[in-house]
Symmetry: C2
């Protein structure tokens, strides 16, 4: 049976735009051969399963792989690399991303520098699909950065040396596994600890981490605390245990309760699920102390950079986060790291089959390289 899924799995390379602008692959290749590199952008993509080093648990889910789609945009002999990462709770899949990318016709644009129009076009193809959109945005930024001959942190005017340390994430797990993971996290200066289970489980996790190390902890409750009074009680308990802030303590739409909690809380609060895109930020002013920006939520690097500017204008703390991603999307996010108060860019450290090399964590700190674009090289896996 040749289902849509088996088609996706068996196809090594899929050309975008073929649904709306059918062209024979051979005809395209002939043209490329003649011109020595097409002067139109060619978007291609393929599914990739990221293998997790440890099974990963957040409130309600455990998994051993993260589905990814890798993208490439070729233009004039240069290739830009991109990626969509789809943890299942976000509603996208390899099939949905590929269905989206098949609708993307970049050949209508003559000039890859016209990012504003190109990405506005991509955004209006369908609602949501933010990871799919990010996979185009990242590949296009990589391409344009290479055409310019500069890394994006330089094009944006940021000071690479200011990139902060990254946290390393400890997922929800048994006492033994948490103790083991905390020991493995020795190279990292700050831990991100996932909570949002029962009070007993949450306190066991923190107590277990604290039995191994007293390094600073940042807590992510992933909307897991269902009541503002309970959340405040938990935050007060955490504030005596060298916890720096709490991310998304309450369900994402409970903004009135969240404003009350931020007002009462002894620790700063950071919006994650409540803050998807640029347009969400104005309503979060005074509701959270800061925002967690992720490329897979906000459609990519261009919108993420605008979110920095708006968050900064509103005096909010800025954090960059990630999904489980290869060094491709992580290196793209790292271009924004110099502007961040907090960073959680450990997604590539959690997978066993990373197919890119890019930004490095050196002594716990995000360390950008000088390569053009997003600063990655593909590895042969």
């Amino acid at each position: 049976m040749f289902t849509r899924r088996s088609f996706i799995k068996s196809s090594a390379l899929i050309t975008a735009g073929s649904l709306i602008n059918p062209v024979s692959m051979f005809a395209q290749n002939d043209k490329i051969a003649r011109l020595g590199g097409s002067k139109r952008m060619q978007l291609t993509f393929r599914p990739f399963d990221a293998q997790l080093i440890h099974p990963f648990t957040v409130s309600g889910y455990t998994r051993t792989t993260t589905p990814i789609v890798l993208t490439e945009i070729a233009y004039d002999g240069i290739t830009g690399y991109g990626e969509a990462a789809m943890p299942p709770y976000l509603g996208e899949s390899q099939a949905s991303v590929i269905a989206f990318l098949q609708k993307v016709n970049l050949q209508q644009f003559k000039n890859p520098f016209e990012l504003d129009d190109i990405l506005a076009y991509v955004d209006q193809i369908a609602i949501n699909n933010t990871a799919a959109k990010a996979s185009v945005d990242i590949a296009l930024h990589d391409l344009v950065g290479k055409l310019i001959g500069q890394p994006w942190h330089a094009i944006w005017g940021y000071t690479a040396a200011k990139a902060p340390v990254t946290t390393f994430t400890i997922g929800i797990d048994t006492e033994d596994v948490i103790r083991q993971k905390t020991k493995e996290a020795a190279p990292y200066k700050i831990l991100k600890v996932k909570l949002g289970e029962s009070e007993i489980a949450d306190k066991m996790i923190i107590t277990t981490v604290r039995s191994v190390t007293d390094k600073p902890i940042r807590v992510d409750a992933n909307q897991g605390w269902k009541d503002k009074h309970y959340a405040l009680k938990m935050i007060e308990w955490l504030s005596d245990r060298n916890v720096e802030f709490v991310e998304q303590p309450l369900p994402k739409y409970d903004l009135d309760d969240m404003a009350w909690l931020t007002e009462q809380s002894p620790l700063p609060t950071i919006a994650d699920e409540s803050c998807q895109r640029l347009e969400d930020i104005p309503r979060l002013k005074g509701v959270f102390d800061g925002i967690n920006i992720k490329l897979m939520k906000c459609t990519g690097m261009r919108e993420a950079n605008k979110m920095i500017s708006m968050g900064e204008t509103f005096g909010m703390k800025l954090m960059i986060g990630c999904m489980t991603e290869t060094s491709c999307a992580i290196s793209a996010a790292a271009q924004l790291a110099p502007k961040m108060d907090y960073a959680d860019l450990d997604g590539n450290l959690l997978i066993a089959n990373d197919c890119f090399s890019g930004m490095k964590i050196i002594d716990g700190k995000i360390t950008l390289n000088d390569r053009s674009g997003i600063g990655v090289k593909p590895l042969n896996i």
Copy 2:
């Protein structure tokens, strides 16, 4: 008598940073000669009086020149050009700009690409001084664009062909002069007409323009209408006369009255004096329909580009404006023009001794060139 002003007038070139980091001009020149171009940024500046083709009147002022300070930042054998333009009602002068620029020590920065930190440093040297700050911002953008090898409209990802037509400004004047200026404005497709005088004078001006042409008019009242009911009556009168919008009808701090007026007005309203910098925009949402961004108000190109993003997010109309400026600052502003709904970039057309060539108005439309940076060449005047 050798006053501060005569010192300024007589000195062809002044080196910045000399107050906090005194160095002999000769020693610096020796160093440049030895290295074949300094690897530190050198900021220099000189006063320049822009001669107006016509004396210029807005509510309460008439003048024949505009004081300007021209800046240059040299680095590694490349020069970036910038400019501060100081119409007297904004509170800056050649003396205040030069006093500010003498405090700017760019030699502390090794990497001109680090625009974010450099311009944050410039901004915190003193409050206000927005034109002085813009003169550093523009020269630095020109330098970095040249180092990158791209014009800023391309670096920002904008589509040059989308730059709109510009208005040509008709100032407050006698009936004869207004008729004459309206005839001279024949090459321009839209007129910007200054009002804000008495009802009789304002209606005379519009009626006189309309006796020559029926092309669209955009009105700028420059805070001249002192009462919201009167302003509404004037806007209703204008709305029958092919007027597209009204800029700043009420005093800049009357935001409650302004919100009422925008709600009632048959024409869109645009904030000018009420909208100086990025931080002003959130409070203008729902108060005006759009904002007029000017480099000399907002400290330059970097903040102006952030204002575009915030204004767009809030669904506000975007306009780019100018002072009486040479083609240097006008060409810098023109880099942002592709994102604008409305443009009023005629400042260079109003002066007789323009000392740069840059963006051109072709068939009424702002036409960007492909030169790196802000796209200007100095002329020998």
